[in-house]
């Protein structure tokens, strides 16, 4: 065959909306030249369930279950973000015990969420075993939550004014047993299994490098931003609840396997955050006081005065914010949710255009941003 007959041309590929490595219904239109990605364009909205519209038709307490279904992998933090905003608006005091319980369930939920991120990230890249290990341990946390509130995913446990049910001694013992089981033995096991695995490092180091200033400009928050070396954590920078009384470190990316802000850094921040979360849970177990678990009046009905507020909490994927406008009735006038994954995934098109990215790297980049489409589309 003569050279003139060999033809190469660019190809437009649809990745998604149904694709295993997009972690949900998310479509990326990719312009490829062989294995090389030249350009990508993200399309979202396939999972839009009109959260903000629904919120305008329900009273303040009824909105809580909708917030679960945004980021269903760390529902506690979504509940909490919404509750904090309404409490500020209505001037509700949260009992001390409830604040401690909130930290405990939120940090356990963060571990569960990071475990899923760890497992599916391995799966995206071709390591199936870590996924099974991650689910083994995530199951223990879900069992605790099931005992606590009867739900494994959409808890609606953190509510306005406190939490829905009290913590029993039995559950506290379960949580303590989990902490002893999990840290440090199991996390070390994960590091041996995946984090320092040579193949894993060569697949993720120097891939999808995200400079810090670019990440901030794109509104990236949470572990993905910290992976670029930015010391930013709302639990420390704008403490809510009782985080100002607790001790913990904020792990950031260091570029130890390649460039600062690559996929490995983002992944590793999550692994190190799990240790910090367990450290927080242990402190709460030590200090938790007796007392009521919810404000009595707010347990029944909430009717804030007219006004508006914006409050944020640090979710497992970044900053979960709620802008709530009240007109003085028991139904919110407007609820706007700031979902971290929505901003985080918007940087994807930029990352693919910054450097030469292979199709397989695109999967690694999406996985390292750890998105939940339920919250991107709301």
């Amino acid at each position: 065959m003569t050279e003139a007959k060999i033809r190469t041309e660019e190809m437009l590929l649809n990745m998604g909306p149904q694709h295993p490595s997009t972690h949900g219904v998310f479509r990326v239109v990719v312009r490829t030249d062989g294995e090389l990605v030249l350009e990508s364009e993200s399309h979202i909205g396939y999972l839009h369930r009109c959260f903000e519209k629904c919120a305008e038709g329900n009273n303040y307490l009824q909105v809580v279950p909708y917030t679960d279904r945004m980021d269903y992998l760390c529902a506690m933090m979504n509940n909490w973000g919404y509750a904090v905003a309404v409490e500020k608006l209505a001037g509700i005091e949260v009992p001390e015990r409830a604040e401690y319980i909130r930290v405990m369930v939120a940090e356990l939920n963060r571990v569960a969420s990071h475990l899923l991120a760890f497992g599916t990230y391995g799966l995206d890249i071709g390591a199936i075993t870590p996924f099974l290990y991650a689910f083994r341990d995530r199951e223990r946390i879900l069992k605790i939550f099931e005992k606590l509130c009867g739900q494994r995913l959409n808890y609606s446990y953190v509510r306005i004014g406190g939490v829905t049910f009290d913590m029993t001694e039995e559950i506290l013992a379960d949580i303590e047993a989990f902490c002893d089981y999990f840290d440090p033995k199991i996390i070390d096991e994960y590091d041996n299994l995946l984090s320092y695995n040579g193949i894993f490092i060569s697949r993720t180091a120097n891939v999808g490098v995200m400079p810090a200033d670019l990440a901030i400009s794109y509104g990236v928050t949470g572990p993905s931003l910290r992976g670029s070396g930015v010391q930013r954590d709302l639990r420390r920078d704008a403490p809510y609840g009782i985080y100002d009384r607790l001790e913990f470190d904020v792990p950031v990316g260091t570029g130890e396997m390649g460039q600062l802000g690559d996929c490995w850094d983002r992944y590793m921040v999550r692994m190190r955050e799990m240790r910090q979360s367990i450290r927080l849970v242990r402190q709460v177990l030590r200090d938790i006081p007796e007392g009521p678990f919810c404000d009595k009046k707010a347990y029944r009905a909430v009717k804030p005065k007219a006004g508006e507020t914006y409050k944020r909490v640090e979710g497992a994927r970044g900053e979960v914010g709620f802008y709530i406008v009240s007109d003085g009735t028991n139904i919110p006038y407007r609820v706007k949710a700031r979902a971290p994954s929505f901003s985080n995934i918007s940087i994807l098109d930029k990352l693919t255009s910054l450097s030469d990215v292979m199709v397989a790297d695109l999967v690694a980049i999406i996985g390292s941003l750890d998105i939940v489409l339920g919250e991107v589309d709301r």
């Binding site: 909205g45 200033d213 509104g219 930015v230 930013r232």
Partner: protein
């Protein structure tokens, strides 16, 4: 802080670039519809800014006439505004002038109307899918 619509682009630039302000993170853009205001129907666009280095926050509010809500896009200042502005356009019909690709983001491309306006009526059907109310 309430800012006039004409001044917003200049104020936004100052917010990010002045070292004492240093608002490098645009956290959220919210649109709120007020069809029954005393001094004319309005749409408010609210920007929540945050400074990572200085640890402070700012809420900027811009009031726009409801029948023709137009405001300068700030996507050149904060890249994240691209998607947030598209969302506000999609759900409330605020036009961000100078946005490079102001199309719907959450609803389908051929959706009619802006769902978060208070007088929005949902369609009876969409491409043959009936709107069933239980």
């Amino acid at each position: 802080m309430v800012v006039k619509a004409e001044a917003w682009a200049a104020v936004a630039g100052l917010c990010r670039d002045d070292s004492r302000l240093g608002f490098d993170l645009l956290s959220c853009i919210t649109g709120v519809d007020y069809p029954e205001r005393e001094d004319g129907a309005e749409i408010e666009v609210i920007y929540n800014l945050d400074s990572i280095a200085n640890h402070h926050e700012l809420t900027v509010k811009v009031k726009l006439p409801r029948d023709d809500p137009r405001i300068a896009s700030v996507e050149e200042i904060w890249r994240t505004a691209d998607w947030h502005e598209r969302e506000t356009y999609d759900l409330l019909g605020v036009v961000f002038e100078g946005h490079h690709n102001l199309v719907r983001i959450l609803c389908a491309e051929d959706w009619v109307g802006h769902p978060l306006r208070k007088d929005y009526e949902p369609p009876d059907s969409f491409h043959g899918i009936k709107n069933v109310i239980y």
